[in-house]
Every structure is written in structure tokens, then in C-alpha cells.
């Protein structure tokens, strides 16, 4: 095998690791006092001690709430085979009670190879839920209800949560309700009587610190012993990688990454980009890979949109800016055209286009999301007469003009004068 093949293989291994959340978060499960061990303790105590619990997993998106939960459930299923059944609901799909209960019944039936009827009514499904909870309690089986996007279940009368949590208070059931939400005030959304029945275990998932990040990067990128790669290749790869990781420059890159977003999912996206940029002929990662990966995940969509604008569109944007500075109440296409004409008259620019061309450019700007209609009223009106607003700020516009390849000097001058 040549170096390229080996490099290809290494790339495959690393990429599959990045895409596998349970591998990534197994790193956190080793840490003492981690959320993993706490959550595992809560769920397993319900399995072994036959008690009911309800837990909320809170934290910003991308911190691994679901991933840790999956990891815990996977481990517990291994430890106690045939004793745990998992029912998964998502607030985006099942926030309606009727449909949620039906889904619970369906998943339980699937789990226990029972016949499931789509026609069953709300009542019947509620009854079924109760009797299944009772049966499972008698058989020492735990049902884990995972409610993703928990906050969405709190809309309406909260019948589902009420009946679920109320059922948990009956003697013989044995179940855990795990709510996953990125809203920190999710438990405040519960109605009083539901909140009173909720156990209020809360686990907070936080973005990790930069030291953890460094170790996590090592955990993911270092090639394992038990791969198909020859030893010398692996050793060389790892050594080079460790050199890079110890480099100040690399730390700078990571800091820059963490500056705006320090969640694990962001890091994974970054590493994935970096690994994809890997040079196959050299057979190892280089610092340049990481550097080039950084801008590719920290995109600036508005600036990029500005870069692609035509000169006419830039004119229109500058006109709108000028109108805004004049603090006109509202502007629409017609007032923009007036302004455009006045610029043309006073500066005698060479780019003067007909009204219908300008209208086309105006529509294009709308589509790009650089400007938008002020409100949703007057849908029937044609675009020319509806009031519009500029969505980009003065700074962005200025920056965009400067970086534009063929921006007329007059526009820059106009912008500077406004500033």
C-alpha cells in the first residue's frame, strides 16, 4: 500500500469517528462527575430500585445532551438486557397529545411484538399506556420516555405530560421521563399541577472548556492501535499530529474557533473540514489544514452576498443607505429610484440604467435577503410600492464595497461621506 492509500484509510477512520457521537462523547464519560455518570446513576437507580424519576437535560444546542443520553441508554441496555424499553418522542412531531399517545403505543407494541392498531382512540391509548406501565412494573421492566424538544410539549393543556407524570405516581410502575430541551426555562413552562408532579432533576450541559477541547481533539484525531494501518505509519502520523497540537499557532486557531462558539458540535464540524482538507500525498495533517478549515465554517453570508452583487445593485444599496441616513420614514422602490437619479444627476456617473433594469436588480436584492419588506401588509401590491428596509448595516456595506472587485470609486466616496 502506498502512502496515499494509507492516508485515505486514516482519513476514513477519523471521519467515521467524528461522525459517531457515541465515540466522541465516550471521552466525556470517562471524566469523573460528568453528566454521563450522573444521568446513568439516575436511570439505573430506577432500573435497580424500581422507582420513578423525571429528569430534564438542559443546555445550549450542540453540547451533547442527546448524545450523552444515547450513550447512557446504550450502556444500560447492555448491562440490563431485556429490562429497559425506550420510547422516543420529539416535540416537533408529537406535541399533539393524541398523536403522542399513539406513538407511544406504537413504539411499545413494536418493542414487545404486540399487535398495534392505528384506529385506537385517545381513551384506549391512555388505557393501554396505564396497563403497559403496570405490566412493565410487575415484570421489573423500566420504560424510558425520551421527550426531545421538551419545551414544545408544554404547549396547550399538557395532557400528555400530566397523564404520563401522574401515571408514574401509581404504585407499580417503573419509568423514567427524560426531557431534553435547549430552553433553560423549560421547567417554568410547566403548568402548576404538572410541575408539582415533576421530579425536577436537572442536568445542565455546558460548553466545554478549552483544555477539554485540546484533549478531545487528541481523543478524536490520534489513530488507534487496533486499526488496519501499519504501525510505522500510525506512529509517524500521531507524532506529527502531536507536534501540531502542541504548536502555539494551532492553539490560536482553536481559540479563534472557541471565541464565537465553544460547543462540541462546532468543534466536530471544524475537525471534519480540516480532515477533508488533508493532503493525501504527504499522508498527514498539517497546520494549514486547520487554518483553512476555520473560515470555511465561520461564514459571513451577508458579506459574501455583497461580493457577488452587480454594480447597479451596489448603487441601489448605497441609495437606500443615504435615504436611511436622511431618516425618511419609509422608502420604496420609487423613492430609491429618485435618489438614484439625483446621484446620477449630481455626479454624472456613467452607469445609468433604465427603470425596469433597476427593478430587476431591486428584486434580486430582495431575493438575496439584503433588503426586505418592512411588513407583511400589502401582499397584493406590486413590489415597487411596498416599503422596504435595508438589512445590512453601514459597516458591512462599507466593508463590502471595499472588497468588491469592480466597485466604482464614487460609491466609496459617497459612503465615506455618509459615515
Amino acid at each position: 500500500m502506498g502512502v496515499e492509500n494509507l492516508a485515505e484509510l486514516a482519513k476514513l477512520i477519523i471521519r467515521s469517528r467524528i461522525a459517531d457521537p457515541s465515540f466522541v462523547f465516550s471521552f466525556f464519560s470517562q471524566l469523573p462527575d460528568s453528566n454521563y455518570s450522573k444521568l446513568k446513576y439516575i436511570i439505573s437507580s430506577s432500573v435497580t430500585e424500581a422507582c420513578n424519576n423525571s429528569v430534564l437535560l438542559l443546555g445550549p444546542r450542540g453540547c451533547g445532551k442527546t448524545a450523552v443520553l444515547e450513550l447512557v441508554l446504550e450502556d444500560l441496555l447492555k448491562e440490563h438486557p431485556d429490562m429497559i424499553s425506550v420510547v422516543k418522542l420529539n416535540g416537533l412531531l408529537h406535541s399533539d397529545n393524541n398523536c403522542a399517545l399513539k406513538e407511544i403505543a406504537r413504539q411499545v407494541c413494536l418493542e414487545h411484538q404486540l399487535q398495534f392498531s392505528k384506529m385506537a382512540s385517545f381513551d384506549e391509548n391512555t388505557q393501554f399506556l396505564l396497563s403497559i406501565l403496570r405490566e412493565c412494573g410487575l415484570a421489573h421492566k423500566t420504560i424510558v420516555f425520551v421527550l426531545e424538544e421538551f419545551d414544545l410539549f408544554t404547549e396547550g393543556k399538557q395532557r400528555l405530560l400530566y397523564s404520563l407524570l401522574d401515571a408514574l405516581q401509581s404504585v407499580s410502575s417503573q419509568a423514567v421521563v427524560v426531557g431534553v430541551s435547549c430552553r433553560l426555562d423549560a421547567d417554568q413552562l410547566l403548568e402548576k399541577r404538572v410541575r408539582s408532579r415533576f421530579s425536577h432533576r436537572k442536568l445542565l450541559f455546558l460548553p466545554s472548556s478549552s483544555e477539554d477541547f485540546q484533549r478531545l481533539v487528541e481523543h478524536i484525531l490520534l489513530l488507534p492501535m487496533d486499526s488496519r494501518l501499519p504501525n510505522d505509519f500510525r506512529a509517524a502520523f500521531n507524532e506529527k499530529l502531536l507536534n501540531i497540537l502542541a504548536d502555539e499557532e494551532f492553539k490560536g486557531v482553536i481559540d479563534q474557533l472557541c471565541y464565537s462558539d465553544s460547543t462540541v458540535s462546532q468543534l466536530l464540524r471544524f475537525l471534519f473540514c480540516a480532515v477533508c482538507h488533508m493532503d493525501l500525498s504527504s499522508g498527514s495533517l498539517s497546520i494549514e489544514n486547520f487554518k483553512s478549515a476555520l473560515p470555511s465554517i465561520q461564514r459571513q453570508p451577508k458579506l459574501e452576498a455583497l461580493k457577488d452583487c452587480s454594480v447597479l445593485e451596489l448603487y441601489l444599496l448605497v441609495c437606500m443607505k443615504r435615504l436611511e441616513v436622511k431618516e425618511l420614514e419609509s422608502c420604496n422602490f420609487n423613492s430609491i429610484m429618485k435618489e438614484y437619479k439625483s446621484i446620477h444627476d449630481s455626479f454624472k456617473t456613467s452607469d445609468y440604467y433604465a427603470r425596469n433594469v433597476c427593478l430587476r436588480a431591486f428584486e434580486h436584492l430582495l431575493q438575496r435577503g439584503l433588503i426586505s419588506f418592512q411588513d407583511n401588509r400589502g401582499q397584493g401590491q406590486s413590489a415597487e410600492f411596498r416599503p422596504v428596509k435595508l438589512l445590512i448595516s453601514w459597516h458591512e456595506l462599507q466593508q463590502g464595497l471595499k472588497s468588491h472587485r469592480s466597485c466604482p470609486a464614487i460609491l466609496n466616496k459617497l459612503m465615506d461621506r455618509e459615515g
Binding site: A120, S131, L138, H140, D185, H200, L206, D261
Partner: protein, 830 residues
């Protein structure tokens, strides 16, 4: 190895002490109901009566009988206490002559009236004896072979009726060393091999039965890997095996009598529900099985009374632990074994207590009969079971034609048997609960406390209300509105009152009533309440419109033609959910009690105090007359509730409980919350204890939940996590939030726009040497903060025009950001 050892065995956590071997009669099952039972004069000495060395023989028997005959019988038995008579009786298999002098039987016929009343209890198996000659006659109790047998008793059953005549007497166990029966001396039972030993025969001899588990020398030696020979019995004497030994080596069967009847030809039969020993299950004996463990099966058979040997007693673990000295025929049964699916299920505790057990038993009967005895039902069902019968045949037909879905009503009983543990998990038996774990299970909301402290006044009030309503001949317009914040024990108190009343009904001091419990939040729609009520009253299920008509007819019927004249108590939980736009549902329900002869009593429960006032005047005038308020608990009450649950468990510091209850009382007075806090504190302590045990550091002795744990639990429960999230968020969001606070402070407004904020951020960055990341990045950060609800913001498409608001007080954000290490300069802006 000649020493008697006392060993702790983890296998039998439920057992405190080894039982002294004592013989007592096991037919002490209680209370013949009809006093005219005349016992046969001929006393059967087929089997010697069990003898007791330590306890006087008479007490259980005497307690059972109102009948003088049986007393004489027992005294006769007492006269030959030491006679261990191996009286061999060859048992003629299936001999149908009831005239045989040795077996005289006395049957106590169930009175017709009681049969009427109990028709739903025994699932319609009771027949009238005088109806037809050619019919089975069902009995409640049969005295057969000097033993009284009634439904619910557990008995030994011979495996083959022709495998007769064991020479030995199976009832008396001999000492394993000297091969003499117990006699007057106390015997001790080894907890492992279950062999009995005279205390004197042991080496060294024991003076008294030791506390804790005890193992004999042989078992101890075996455990140590030595080969031990049991002492050979003296020549010419075969070792007698007791019934227990035979059962455990599957030479006998044990069964529970479900019902008893006389066949047309005069033989007596009973319906047996078999018990099986662990070896006979699909998984075989598991290491954690107790020696005396049996499983109840769902396997039934009709067996002739002939093959019954005698009583044994099969107990739940709780009773078993309490049972001191019931002799050798005691077994423990915790699980039910499904012979179709080969799985185990715990026997619901509720099965055991009789008053609540009916419903459950009914369910059981339903599915069992479906499997095994439809033909029987076809042959002898009568009009009183027509409905049941029809349901069953329909079901069995349905099950034959196509499988019924488990979640539809018709199929509810199908397939659920499948759910069951294939094996009983080991940890349940082998694990000895620590105090903290006990405390945790006691504090569970689901565990029903034995007593309900602090609600005596309210419960008295409810009791007098209901009693007054029931005993009133007319019971006009009875309606009680119960209100109080969540977790103050409203529903629990009402249900406890109903339980007490139920026992009074059973005792006969109050006339019977029917009770329907409804939860407003569990109804699909408010109108559904009619069909639920109707189903609760009659067992039939119809649509709500039809049900409404029926109910209207029933409750407003002037001429008293209704056959069911019992008063009806309706408990509606979460009453506020029944409020519809025109409030017709509530009006109907509250209007019925005012009708003459309706005999309806409504108890409504809701959280809000002023619900009647919010309703239409015609409803509030019907509901708001009698009210009962459940105030929030104060801290002493909460403390009492918690400590009453934790009685006898040393897991909490006293101050910790007080702290928790004071904290909760100050916030809400919600008992659930207080219990949850304590449970969480116990969990925290337990978690800590387990971790130190794992890490292998010094066993610091007992871990007790203290102030710190309660503090942590309260923090977790009451404190919003936003400060932690802010502190650990990335630099840019910290700057974002600081700029937000700054901007809001500067303008004095409640909200700002993204554009202004971005200006502030870029200004911050420029002045303090941070790079300004660009508007797009900033917008993204803002949206993420909005997602966590640290900010309230409009959708990101509004971009520059997006309006932003802080979701938490400015001071919180300031506090969180004040001394952040990575951005020390933030402090000067906020």
C-alpha cells in the same frame, strides 16, 4: 468443622431468623361464614395431625371455628400428640362413593343471597344448587377429609393418583442426625438445605434458635468444598421425606384452590391454579432463588378433591418475613410465571388485600378463561353472566380469527402477558438495601404512606359529608368542592376516606354505594365524561350522547324503577378542565344531584379557589355551597410528613429535614416538592457514597444525607441555571450580553435592536483589543442566546432590525459576568 456457624446469607434478605421447626395445623385459614357447619363424627386419622413441640397446638384451630364439632376434633387430635402414626391409607383413586364412612364431607352451601351479591366476585361461577339436579353445585367451602378447604387455600396435590402409599408419614420431619421426629424438642432449620436438626443433636449443641440466618455444618462444609456424607439412617428405617421435600423435588404439586364444586355424579372437584418450583421453569433454578420459593402459574386444571393431601401455605415475601413459626409447609411466592410465554411477573401487591383484589382477580379470570375454559362457560353460563359471557366468546372468536391489537379496547387483555421478565433479575434479591436506598424508596411519591398525617380535619369533614349524604334517604343536592394548590393532598385524602368507607361497607355498618373516579385531564374531551361515568356505573361502554341520555334517565327518573338504588359518589379531579364554552357539561353533572331520587354525590377537586365564581351563576349556585380548602402545608406539617415516612430509617439528619421543609413551606407548601427534595438529597448522598466506594478509598462508614445534600437538591430544583450557562459560554456571547446590559442601561429602555447592539460590541472590541468577528457571526451568537432563552429575540431573518430583550434580570447577568477570568475588562462596562 464440627462447629455450628452462623452465617450471613445474602440470598434471603427477607428472612430475619431461622424458623424453629414447629408443627401446627395449617388449616387455620379463617372464618367459616355459615355457622351451621356440622363436621363429620368420624375423624379421619389418615394422617396424623401435625404436632408442635414448642407451640401449643390448639390456637390456630380454635380460632378458626365457630363450630363445636371441629373443636372436638382438634381436641381428639391433641390427645395423641406424640403419636406419629404412619397410618397408611390406601387411597382409592377417584372413588366416587361419598357414602364411604371414612370420608364424610360436610358442605356449606353458599346462600343464594350471598351468591347474588358475589356474582362478580367469583366471575359467575356460583350456581344455585336447587336449580337442577344435573348440574354442578358450587361451594365456598368444603370440609373434606377433616380439612376445611375453601377457595383461596393452598394445598398439596398428589402427582398421580395411583402413586399411592408412601409408607412414611409425609407430615412430620425428622431430625437429620438422630432420625427421630421433633417430639418435644425444638428443631432448627438450615437455611440452605432446609433439613431439620434437633438443637441437641448439633455439635456443639445450641441452646436457642440463633438470630439471623443459620446454616448447618454440612452445608458450611459443602460451601468450603468438602465432601460430606449425611449421617446414614439407622438400618431398617428409611428416611422419611416430608411433603415439602417431595414438592421441592417435584414429586408433589402445590396448587391454589380457585373454586370448589360437586359434580353431577357426586364427586367433589376443585379448580386448581398450579404453583411450580423454580426447577420447572424455562430458565431453571436461578442462583438467587430462595429454597422455599414457588411461582404461581397461570395454568389451571380441574382436579378431584381426592388428590388433595393437605394444606400448605404460600405467602408473599412480606408475610413470609413476618411468619415466625408456621411449620414446614410454608413457601414464598413473589412472582407469577406465565407458562405460555415463559416469563415472570411480580404479583401485584394489591392482589393480596382482599377488598381491592376483586377487580384484579376479575382481570385475571378474564384472560385465563379465554385460554382454557371457554367450553365450560358455554355449558353453564346463566343469565347473570350473560354479559360477561358474551364478551368472552366475542373475544375468543376474535382471537381465533385474527389477532387483536393490544392497544385497542377489545384486545387489551391480549398479548400483555407477553411482557414479562424472562428471568428474574438478580440484583433485586442479592442486593441488601442500605438505609439511604430504603429512604429513597420510602420517599417516592408512588409509595402510599400508611398514615396521612396533618389532614385529619379535612378528612373528617369529607367523611362526615359523604356519610351524611349516603345515609340520607333522599340525598338531595350533595356537592362538595375541594380546592387547594397542587401537592396538598386533596385527591389522596378523598381516596383515603373512600378506602376507609369501603372497609366500613364491608363490615356492614354503611350501606353499599358505587364510586366513580374521573380525572378531567385524562379525558379526551369534556363530553367524554358521560361515557366514563356510565361505564363506571354499569360496565357498558357507549358513546357520550347515548350515555348522557341514559344518565339523564337514571338520575332524573321520578318513579323509582331503577334496579340499582345504591347511592353513587362521583369524584372529579381537575374539575376546571370540564369547563366548556357553554359550560353544559358541568351544568349537567351538577344538576343531577338536585333531582329527587338521583342519589348522586359529586366531589369536585380543582386548584383554583374561585372556580365557582368564574362560572355561570346557575352553576356556581349548584356547586359553591359546600367547600373545603386544603391550605398549603406549613413547615411543621411537612416535617411531620417526611419524618413519618422515614420512621425507623436512619438516613437523614434532623436539621436537613427541617431545612427542606422550611424551604418548601416558604415557597409553595407542596408536599410532593418536599418529598422530592428529600429524595433528591438522598440520591445525592447515595451517589456520593457509591462513588467513594468505587474509588476504593477508606470506607468512611455510614453516609447520611445532610444539610449540604439538601442544599444541593434545593439548588437544583429552584435555581434557574442561567448564571452557570452565562459563565461557561464563549467569549463572544459574554461580550454580547455585557453590551446588551450596557446598552439597556444607557438607553433606559427594555429592548434594543441588533444594530445598536452591534455598534456597542464593535466599540467594546476596538477599545479592548479583541477582534470584532463581523455582524453575521454576532447575529448567530445572538440567535443562539435567544434559543436558550437568555435573550428574547425576533427571528434572525430580521437581521439588523431584530429586537432584543433580556429574559433574566440585568443584575443576574451583571453578577454572572462581573469577574470572568477570560474577559476581565467587561467589569468596567457593567
Amino acid at each position: 468443622m464440627a462447629e455450628t456457624q452462623q452465617m450471613k446469607k445474602s440470598k434471603t434478605p427477607s428472612k430475619g431468623t431461622p424458623r424453629a421447626k414447629q408443627r401446627i395445623s395449617s388449616d387455620h385459614l379463617i372464618a367459616p361464614q355459615t355457622p351451621q357447619s356440622a363436621t363429620p363424627a368420624a375423624i379421619n386419622l389418615r394422617r396424623s395431625h401435625r404436632l408442635s413441640a414448642a407451640t401449643p397446638e390448639s390456637h390456630p384451630v380454635l380460632s378458626t371455628c365457630d363450630t363445636p364439632q371441629s373443636v372436638t376434633r382438634t381436641t381428639k387430635n391433641l390427645k395423641n400428640p406424640t403419636s406419629i402414626l404412619p397410618t397408611t391409607i390406601s387411597i382409592t383413586p377417584a372413588s366416587p362413593q361419598p357414602t364411604e364412612s371414612r370420608r364424610k364431607r360436610k358442605f356449606q352451601e353458599k346462600s343464594v343471597a350471598s351468591a347474588e351479591r358475589k356474582k362478580d366476585l367469583t366471575s359467575g361461577k356460583c350456581r344455585r344448587a336447587d336449580n337442577k339436579v344435573k348440574q354442578k353445585v358450587y361451594y365456598k367451602k368444603v370440609v373434606y377429609d377433616s380439612g376445611e378447604f375453601s377457595a383461596g387455600h393452598d394445598v398439596y396435590v398428589k402427582k398421580r393418583s395411583d402413586a399411592s402409599s408412601d409408607d412414611e408419614d409425609p407430615e412430620v420431619e425428622e431430625c437429620r442426625v438422630c432420625f427421630k421426629p421433633a417430639g418435644r424438642r425444638v428443631m432448627i432449620e438450615c437455611d440452605d438445605c432446609l433439613n431439620g436438626f434437633h438443637l441437641k443433636c448439633l455439635s456443639p449443641p445450641l441452646r436457642a434458635v440463633p438470630e439471623g440466618d443459620w446454616m448447618c455444618n454440612y452445608c458450611v462444609a459443602k460451601k468450603n468444598g468438602e465432601m460430606v456424607e449425611f449421617a446414614e439412617p439407622p438400618a431398617g428405617k428409611k428416611r422419611a421425606r416430608t411433603a415439602r421435600e417431595k414438592l421441592l423435588s417435584s414429586d408433589l404439586w402445590a396448587a391454589r384452590i380457585e373454586s370448589l364444586w360437586k359434580e353431577v355424579d357426586g364427586t367433589y372437584w376443585f379448580r386448581a391454579r398450579w404453583y411450580i418450583i423454580p426447577e420447572e421453569t424455562a430458565v431453571g433454578r436461578q442462583p438467587h432463588n430462595l429454597r422455599r420459593e414457588l411461582y404461581r402459574t397461570n395454568d389451571f386444571a380441574d382436579v378431584e378433591m381426592e388428590s388433595i393431601i393437605r394444606h400448605c401455605s404460600v405467602m408473599s415475601p412480606k408475610d413470609f418475613a413476618n411468619a415466625g413459626s408456621e411449620g414446614d409447609d410454608v413457601f414464598i411466592c413473589e412472582y407469577e410465571y406465565d407458562i405460555q410465554w415463559h416469563n415472570f411477573r411480580r404479583i401485584a401487591e394489591i392482589d393480596n388485600n382482599e377488598d381491592d383484589g376483586e377487580r384484579v382477580d376479575d382481570d385475571d379470570d378474564d384472560d385465563d378463561n379465554d385460554w382454557s375454559s371457554c367450553d365450560e362457560f358455554d355449558s353453564d353460563s346463566k343469565e347473570d353472566v350473560v354479559y360477561e359471557h358474551e364478551k368472552k366468546t366475542r373475544l375468543s372468536h376474535a382471537s381465533l380469527l385474527h389477532p387483536v391489537a393490544a392497544n385497542s379496547r377489545k384486545g387489551r387483555i391480549f398479548g400483555l402477558q407477553k411482557i414479562g421478565a424472562k428471568k428474574i433479575p438478580e440484583h433485586l434479591r442479592c442486593h441488601k438495601q442500605t438505609d439511604l436506598e430504603k429512604a429513597k424508596s420510602k420517599l417516592l411519591l408512588a409509595t402510599l404512606p400508611k398514615s396521612l398525617p396533618c389532614r385529619d380535619r379535612e378528612m373528617d369533614e369529607i367523611t362526615t359529608f359523604i356519610k351524611g349524604a349516603i345515609c340520607d334517604e333522599q340525598c338531595l343536592g350533595r356537592c362538595l368542592y375541594v380546592h387547594g394548590v397542587p401537592g396538598t393532598g386533596k385527591t389522596m385524602s378523598v381516596l383515603a376516606v373512600m378506602r376507609n368507607l369501603k372497609s366500613e361497607v364491608d363490615a356492614g355498618s354503611i350501606r353499599p354505594y358505587c364510586f366513580v373516579e374521573i380525572n378531567g385531564l385524562k379525558l379526551a374531551s369534556p363530553e367524554n365524561i358521560y361515557s366514563v361515568i356510565y361505564e363506571g356505573l354499569t360496565g357498558h361502554r357507549v358513546g357520550w350522547k347515548k350515555a348522557l341520555n341514559f344518565l339523564n334517565a337514571r338520575f332524573s327518573n321520578e318513579n323509582k324503577c331503577g334496579k340499582d338504588t345504591r347511592p353513587c359518589i362521583l369524584l372529579i379531579d381537575e374539575l376546571d378542565l370540564l369547563v366548556t364554552r357553554n359550560q353544559a357539561v358541568l351544568y349537567n353533572i351538577l344538576d343531577w344531584p338536585t333531582k329527587p331520587n338521583s342519589k348522586l354525590i359529586v366531589i369536585g377537586i380543582a386548584n383554583t379557589m374561585d372556580l365557582p365564581e368564574k362560572l355561570l351563576p346557575r352553576i356556581s349556585s349548584r356547586m359553591g355551597i359546600q367547600r373545603l380548602c386544603f391550605g398549603p402545608y406549613n413547615y411543621q406539617q411537612l416535617q411531620e410528613i417526611i419524618s413519618s415516612r422515614l420512621k425507623g430509617i436512619d438516613a437523614f439528619e434532623k436539621v436537613a429535614i427541617e431545612f427542606a421543609s422550611r424551604k418548601v413551606a416558604a415557597v409553595s407548601g407542596d408536599a410532593r416538592r418536599a418529598l422530592e427534595i428529600c429524595r433528591r438529597a438522598a440520591e445525592v448522598a447515595d451517589y456520593r457514597a457509591k462513588k467513594t466506594a468505587l474509588s476504593g478509598s477508606d470506607a468512611s462508614g455510614k453516609v447520611v444525607a445532610g444539610m449540604a445534600d439538601v442544599e444541593a437538591a434545593i439548588k437544583e430544583m429552584f435555581q434557574a441555571p442561567h448564571i452557570q450557562v452565562i459563565r461557561s459560554s464563549c467569549k463572544l456571547s459574554k461580550i454580547f450580553l455585557a453590551a446588551m446590559v450596557y446598552e439597556l442601561y444607557k438607553t433606559g429602555m427594555g429592548e434594543t435592536t441588533f444594530e445598536k447592539l452591534a455598534m456597542a460590541v464593535s466599540c467594546f472590541c476596538a477599545n479592548n483589543g479583541e477582534t470584532f468577528p463581523g455582524y453575521d457571526m454576532l447575529l448567530k451568537v445572538g440567535c443562539k442566546l435567544g434559543e436558550c432563552r437568555l435573550l428574547l429575540c425576533e427571528a434572525g431573518t430580521r437581521h439588523k432590525l431584530q429586537k432584543l430583550q433580556l429574559n433574566y434580570p440585568n443584575d443576574d447577568v451583571t453578577f454572572a459576568l462581573k469577574d470572568s477570568k477570560d474577559l476581565p475588562w467587561l467589569a468596567k462596562y457593567i
